[in-house]
Amino acid sequence: MGGTKLNSNQAELAQLARREHFTFFGLTLPYLVLVGAMIIAPIGWLFFLSFIGRDGSFSIENYERMINSKAYIRIFLTTFKISILTTFFCALLGYPLAYFMSQISRKWANICMIGVLIPFWTSLLVRTYAWLVLLQKKGLVNTIAVDLGLLSEPIKFVHNTSGTLIGMVHIMLPFLILPLYANMRAIDPHCVKAASSLGATSIRAFWTVFFPLSMPGLLAGLLIVFVLCLGFYVTPAVLGGGKVIMAAMKISSNIELYFSWGAASALGVVLLAVTMLILFIASKLVSLDQFGQRS
């Protein structure tokens, strides 16, 4: 057979491979465009605006203000404190539930999952106000508890940090459970069996085998919850009673107060920077893909 024929064939095949490559890349294109248009560009714009002062010229007054006023530092601390606590309690409540769901049959797990997801079908505002109705001073819980003589005086559940946490944990729980449950389902049940056949008590088998294998799902859940918490607005505003001021609330009130995007975007920029710093440190401490591989 002639060599030339093979050569021309080779060129065509290479072109075919290139085209396939290109098509493949094309699949990511809508996402890239979306990220570019909806995330990169606005963040860049946000960054730019944060250096625009009230009079419209370049200025660092928006950042100066944050350094000079203790309120901003406190608001950031509150934001991180509430986010960390919410994440912690979500893990505390969500892990056992996800574990339980991963151990029962798929049919029952699906029923449980509906229970977990039902809150998603109601608006966040409704759920938040529902907590208020339940937990306020003359709310359902306090009234019943006082009437039954369980409490001599109503407990202050809401309009404070605890109220905010109750509301936020409730709203955030599914975000922790979903990735965690998916991860736990994927854990080979034979691994735990192997551990106990090799001599591990069920508790030991859990901590040495199941728990480490559920880490990727747990970390993903923690990360999602933590990051979503940082931007929370409605729940702390309603259930915090003004005692819990988070960054998003100050961002909103700064737009009103200064009539400019700059004063608000500077807050957004700092929040973003601190969040990225935290995630960077976290990723150094725990390698996120460490347990990602399955045998």
Binding site: S69, T78, K137, G139, K156, H159, G242, I245
Partner: protein, 353 residues
């Protein structure tokens, strides 16, 4: 400009006469869009003022809600065209005017000759008067609640939980009144950072007793209705509505800090002239009297009282009724224009301590 207006007017008239059967809404020039705060307040405005005034002029007025003067700023700065008139507190208008985002009102078109003194400004035509008061739960205190700001800040004489606003507006005035400053001198004292700090320190002194910092009128009304707090600062009209709803709530006009609401026009709206005429129409006393039937926010036009357009009993519930007004101080928007950001940041700092 003027002649062009005439042409338009003639054209409008021709249309109205010739094609009366057509919906007038199909012509942009005859449609105005107005925004307000929603809830019981806007319901009263809509039924009492917006729609009757529109009908009288033969135009269409579409209503919507908005989030305050910052929305006006966003609209003007971005060149969007969403509404022609907005309902706003005097303070909001004042800061909007200072920002240069509002049209100056033409008082040769809008007749304010019968307005109560000070109830209109360059950028805001006053429409109703409301008061910030100290309201108490009558279940807790009976009739003898905090009848002065001094009482409100006296946690020994009046033990119980309190609520104050999460924003600085009217709260510093109340604190200074409680601290013994005469109502004429409030803004003199507040005209320095030391004065602002003095007011804030007064609030700090009762901070452990403040259970809630409220963010909306609906919220403080609900707080009283649910008995979540024993007393709160808030708007008189909201408490009156809550009372009709069964809330155990009372307030004394002696704690009143009068403030007013009016209409402004964002800079550069196409229907500016029609908007101006519409505002002029809305200033008529009969609309204000009708509005006051729905919520206890009093008229700025004193003709309402002089012409006896309101029943005596209802009139006595208005903040601007002479018998009520005489006890009260009036909020000054120029102080807010000068000090708002500083005072607001300090207030937030105090809240987060």
């Amino acid at each position: 400009m003027k002649s062009f207006c005439m042409v338009k007017k003639v054209a409008v008239a021709a249309f109205l006469l010739g094609f009366a059967s057509f919906s007038t809404a199909s012509f942009a020039d005859e449609t105005l869009r107005i925004v307000s705060w929603g809830g019981a307040y806007q319901k009263g405005q809509s039924v009492g003022i917006f729609q009757p005034a529109a009908e009288a002029m033969g135009i269409t007025v579409k209503e919507d809600t908005y989030g305050g003067i910052s929305d006006v700023k966003l609209m003007v700065k971005s060149g969007a065209d969403k509404f022609d008139i907005f309902s706003s507190g005097a303070g909001g208008c004042a800061s909007g005017g200072a920002e240069g985002i509002l049209e100056k009102l033409d008082y040769s078109v809008i007749d304010v000759s019968n307005h109560l003194p000070g109830m209109y400004s360059d950028y805001c035509a006053g429409a109703d008067i409301f008061s910030v008061v100290a309201a108490w739960n009558t279940e807790t205190y009976g009739d003898n609640g905090p009848r002065s700001w001094a009482d409100f800040f006296d946690v020994e004489k009046f033990p119980g939980t309190r609520a104050m606003r999460a924003k600085v507006d009217s709260q510093l005035e109340a604190a200074l009144l409680a601290d013994g400053v005469a109502k004429e001198d409030i803004y003199k004292v507040l005209d320095s950072e030391e004065g602002i700090d003095r007011a804030l320190d007064k609030i700090r002194s009762i901070k452990p007793h403040i259970a809630v910092w409220w963010t909306s009128g609906a919220q403080h009304a609900q707080l009283m209705k649910d008995g979540e707090v024993d007393m709160t600062t808030g708007w008189n009209g909201r408490f009156d509505v809550a009372k009709l709803d069964g809330a155990k709530v009372a307030y004394d006009w002696k704690t009143g800090i009068m403030d007013w609401e009016g209409y402004g026009i964002p800079k550069g709206v196409k229907n500016k002239d029609l908007a101006m005429k519409y505002i002029a129409e809305m200033m008529k006393p009969e609309y204000m009297a009708e509005f006051a039937k729905y919520i206890t926010y009093g008229p700025t036009n004193k003709l309402v009282y002089e012409l006896n357009l309101m029943e005596e009993a209802r009139a006595r519930q208005m903040p601007s009724h002479p018998d009520n007004a005489k006890h009260q101080m009036t909020l000054r928007t120029d102080w807010y224009a000068k000090w708002r950001t500083i005072a607001a940041e300090k207030y937030t700092e105090m809240m987060t301590e």
